[in-house]
Symmetry: D2
Amino acid sequence: MKLKVRSDLLFDFPAGTEAIVSVQAAASPDQKIISESLTITPNARIVQDKADERGERRFRAAFSGETRIVYEAVIDNGLRISIPPDVPQRAWCDLPQEALLYLTSSRYCPSDKFVAFANREFGAIANGGARVRAVLDWIHEHVDYVPGVSNSETTAERTFVDRAGVCRDFSHLGITLCRALNIPARAVSAYAFQLDPPDFHAVFEVYLGGGWWLVDPTRLAPIDGLVRVGIGRDAADIAFLTTNGPCRSIEQSVVVEQAVDAMAA
Amino acid sequence: MKLKVRSDLLFDFPAGTEAIVSVQAAASPDQKIISESLTITPNARIVQDKADERGERRFRAAFSGETRIVYEAVIDNGLRISIPPDVPQRAWCDLPQEALLYLTSSRYCPSDKFVAFANREFGAIANGGARVRAVLDWIHEHVDYVPGVSNSETTAERTFVDRAGVCRDFSHLGITLCRALNIPARAVSAYAFQLDPPDFHAVFEVYLGGGWWLVDPTRLAPIDGLVRVGIGRDAADIAFLTTNGPCRSIEQSVVVEQAVDAMAA
Amino acid sequence: MKLKVRSDLLFDFPAGTEAIVSVQAAASPDQKIISESLTITPNARIVQDKADERGERRFRAAFSGETRIVYEAVIDNGLRISIPPDVPQRAWCDLPQEALLYLTSSRYCPSDKFVAFANREFGAIANGGARVRAVLDWIHEHVDYVPGVSNSETTAERTFVDRAGVCRDFSHLGITLCRALNIPARAVSAYAFQLDPPDFHAVFEVYLGGGWWLVDPTRLAPIDGLVRVGIGRDAADIAFLTTNGPCRSIEQSVVVEQAVDAMAA
Amino acid sequence: MKLKVRSDLLFDFPAGTEAIVSVQAAASPDQKIISESLTITPNARIVQDKADERGERRFRAAFSGETRIVYEAVIDNGLRISIPPDVPQRAWCDLPQEALLYLTSSRYCPSDKFVAFANREFGAIANGGARVRAVLDWIHEHVDYVPGVSNSETTAERTFVDRAGVCRDFSHLGITLCRALNIPARAVSAYAFQLDPPDFHAVFEVYLGGGWWLVDPTRLAPIDGLVRVGIGRDAADIAFLTTNGPCRSIEQSVVVEQAVDAMAA
């Protein structure tokens, strides 16, 4: 699908606030950036970080006062497909080096605590895609999407007890269970088509076969309606805005639409 | 100082245990590897990961049964010096991209919770080297080195309450306080000269001025008696051995000696 | 001081909600209930629990729909005085049996974790009233009164790290530090004169010499401006309303005034 | 069953250690103390607390140096029966006042977090005895008895994730789930017939119909092989020994045998 995304953030920053911003579409093989623009008002000097091996692109800046950050892009992610049941889980020795970081526990994803549960619940299912899909089915069946029950400190352990949360919590639980099964899993922030209400979305991806597969444990957006942005161990790594002190959000909007193909006209 | 290090690990692994091993000296500019050897008995195919931008070198293997892993090296870390009080803290925009990861909270280092305390306690001290040294002094004065009070789940928050811990806990608390002050800080595993009893050591490093500075909050080893091994966000990233299931340690020893310089004879 | 208190709670309860309500002044020797009334609209059958050995008086009822609970009382607490510095700490064997429950950790007051800190910080001060006053001074100096940083799950451990909280958090930290020093300490909910904005207040009391001494670690209300209501291990025990399911607060007000003495007219 | 119990504790106490000891059989209607003796060597002055409304009997003392505490008793608990499926859950207004304390969360039993799970899993089962038995069945099916995975800080939340623990953990999880279903539940320490290896045991009891019913979620001892000792909100309240500082256990044994009835000879 060809998608047109637009995020518009208006913040009030105390003078000299340092910020890391993650709103740009990732440079990953499963999505092609056709066009994009980044507009900061008033103009500010930014440091554009290069896409790292994960494809994430962030920029840094020092902001003072009311500042608007608008990112627009047209993306083609037409090659992305759902994870096939038979794509195999890889031995650690066969993983690319960059995947190793996503095998073990992180702040919101204490996978070491879930080894017993994960093996008891999913151990009988063929490893690989089928097992990941079983994890997703389990979450869908046992966890309710309920805004307001969780906060920025909620871990997968807590969501497993609460049986409720939002996209971030669903992803943390999915990542945690996959890592407990020795499957590399990492958090992904995304623009999502048809998400209601529109907002930044949190999904995750697993390494199976020869690559990373994107999954959405909330089932709120179609897999080819997702545009990757940030990638990290868990939500702590993929905030759209990280600052060195408090700041105030004035307004924030995200729009994701199917791009009209001018060429087809 | 020129150091000769040797680690000797004997483990019993269930058949087909997958492992990531981090015992090799890091490839970092402040230490020179003069010679080294890695011996695994019985012989096993290993995947040697390349040193990443942090300098960490790890290898992967699948082990079965009793396995001995011996690493020996001669290292010259003569260029390493203690952090000067006047080396300045950098603005986020002036940090190298690789340092950004070490600005924010991680599993054992919830620095976001310590912003109020850190600013209250250290805010009046000139930023940069002097402030980091004040953090180290505070830890030295308020936390006791007590084996047995902490475990693999102990966070810096808990150590701050307990006022006691071991090298790993001291480092987590130091990292946490530095990040709360917006100073990039990361965990380092090390071989340490004169550590008693000899063992792997956990220290940390901060990014100030134009580079990473190694510090030992326990004051148990001289700064030029340290050989870096693993580097990561916190202890979760720098275990000398990570496996995909339980295994049994049979024997483990670490020896660090001053290297006799044959040329001088 | 003679005080006139009034609490007025308006809630919307799903049909058949079971509730425990703690709004009545406690029957304790340091305050005399001159007059009081409890009005529930619409009328509901209540089970009035008798004052237990702690003096707390609660009632139970099943509520349906919009319900108003109004409690009014005139109280004379003129005999209450601040804790003298020289009132001694008692040996466990010399405590009344009812005080034992308040020696050890509870949900929000994990005093076992604070033994090292408490002894390091307060161990040199003469035990008894002086030591408790030193605890109160420490809290006053190191913790800021900041609404919004804590929630219903915040423990004393977290407040000790955050260095900020509200009356409930201040009390939890005070209770925790006193218990860590082997002084019985328990939470008290109260009506408080001159509290701004007016609301239920959380304070605590310690057992020293031959009785319980009330203290307010927030210093927001004069000690003779407090009317005790509930008493328990920590805030979990002294909620003004506990229900067996969710309900909705519509309106809530607390008024505490100096009582005009008709006799003086 | 008529049982003969004996506990023998040998501790080394620093001079003047204050202690609360809970080893005596409780004075509860479902067990009759036929004979008993308490021997402390060397002799020490003790303060014998009276059985409170919960039936728990504890004593206090100050100990110095090596001290042996031996308790022996013959108990008839022949009237105790397993909880019938049809004994009904009571409305809060119909509970005895002393049961209210056991409706809400405590340190190791955060029942407020389990409301969603408990209702999802057990809500369809008839309330009362049948529902409590379903909770016990669930624990039996989903949690493994594994010494060593838990410690003195393990909460029911953690055990729910770990799916493993010992008697104390099983009881905490059972108490938590019952309270989440609005059933009063409290921890009980016990001597247990046929427990292997012999030790103090942790079980719990629920208030249904007109009384407290004892249950053993581990299924390690027959219900009429249990002798109640301490009673409290959770394990924090029922330790057999609580001291005001560290002490050292030298030796500890518990023996529970069927009492030979002399009359039958």
